[in-house]
Symmetry: C2
Subunit: 253 residues, 2 copies
């Protein structure tokens, strides 16, 4: 038994030592503004190259906590809804030398740096509450509309695509309330669903279904300053919405 323990320990250590990896997080921060889904991007200093916000996970730090920390630094938000959605761990994720060149780093860094495994998170945040803040490596932090994304660094175009695909599929289970302000109009909510789903919904049927689900409270106020008939303002019913999200019972087939 002694022998067994010894050899097991040895084997274990050996396997584990082989399994040391650089682990990073990439965050797709979704916002919603003027009827469009936006994502938060960073521009690398002295270049015109953009990438997702991200960072490294520290030793003994929970990976979820790391994602929260990274995003807090970029957005100024205290409470962030975050969702793991994919592990990007292909042996070759992107052309490293090309990438280092685009961001003006010495190419030999790419030899030093082994492949990094990245954990994909997406966040749902309230556009207006965010104060975009660049970090040490970047000189701009801005919202981009999903429709006109530039050619991003690393494999970040793919990461955004996978994030969106996941959000779409999991939509009934995701608290989209985080994407909207405290109060909002019914057409705004409809447009949000439409842009995530990527297809138009019939307003009358949308109203009916949302009303029936009971997730909304209608306030007495109406949105002022609209060019035409001013719509009612709604808020999510905190006593109903979480349960509907947990059950995934509000869906548009």
């Amino acid at each position: 038994m002694k022998d067994f323990n010894h050899s097991v320990t040895h084997y274990f250590k050996q396997e584990a030592e082989q399994s040391i990896h650089y682990l990073s997080i990439d965050c797709v921060v979704f916002g919603f503004h003027e009827g469009r889904i936006r994502v938060l991007l960073l521009r690398w200093k002295g270049t015109s190259e953009w990438s997702l916000p991200g960072g490294f996970i520290r030793k003994a730090e929970s990976v979820d906590a790391a994602a929260v920390r990274i995003l807090r630094e970029r957005t100024g938000l205290q409470q962030i809804f975050l969702q793991q959605f994919h592990i990007f761990g292909d042996a070759v994720r992107y052309n490293q030398e090309d990438t280092w060149q685009r961001i003006g780093l010495p190419v030999d860094l790419s030899k030093w740096s082994e492949r990094t495994i990245s954990l994909g998170y997406y966040a749902l945040v309230e556009y207006a509450e965010v104060t975009p803040r660049p970090d040490l490596l970047t000189d701009a932090c801005d919202w981009w509309s999903l429709e006109d994304l530039p050619n991003l660094l690393f494999d970040h175009n793919r990461i955004i695509a996978v994030a969106l695909e996941n959000l779409r599929r999991q939509l009934p289970y995701q608290p989209v309330s985080h994407l909207l302000p405290e109060t909002f109009t019914m057409p705004e909510l409809q447009r949000l669903y439409e842009t995530i789903l990527g297809r138009p919904l019939d307003a009358r049927n949308f109203y009916k279904k949302v009303q029936a689900s009971g997730i909304l409270q209608r306030t007495d106020e109406r949105r002022k300053g609209t060019p035409y008939k001013s719509p009612y303002l709604y808020r999510f019913d905190p006593g109903v919405y979480p349960e509907v999200v947990r059950e995934g019972s509000l869906s548009f087939p």
Copy 2:
């Protein structure tokens, strides 16, 4: 710019060096036999403690490839359907000292070993095709029914629960064909859906819906040796089923 590059490189390296982690994979291998969902478990040598099959990811190895490799060694299967479903990366995932003791390893190993981040995969495999094989650390590899799982090592009970929850939610998008043999009867398919969903389905309505989806081809054969009326054998239609899975269009609300 030189200075900038220098400091960026420095910053980058520093952050990255902090972000070195032990990365492992834990696999929940789902099989289906005699109307029950089973998972493959390993018993640690010289103990009566069980855990999920797992392993470490090697340097420069794709994480998906690592999962395939690990499972090939345990199951003997060449083709395995695998699905990432969660990252287990809490700062404290389980009581390490207690765990090392249960598997008879020196407790000081737990000091040497930092927390390990684990990538959760589940596999859908055909029960009868699997040849369970223990590894160096284990002396048994066996199927366990989901209903009577023992108290597993590490946080593996939780991992199985999360895997099942994910499988259930994603069921319309998952190719459950992998859980069944080449041909099978309609009641068998129904029982599979019932056990994954955790609730009974009406046989007549199930028939109707599956028939309407077109995913099955009925063969001319019937299953012999059944005590009563012998049921027809079906196979998945390879021209239809993948598309239905991609669209997630076969669901039981």
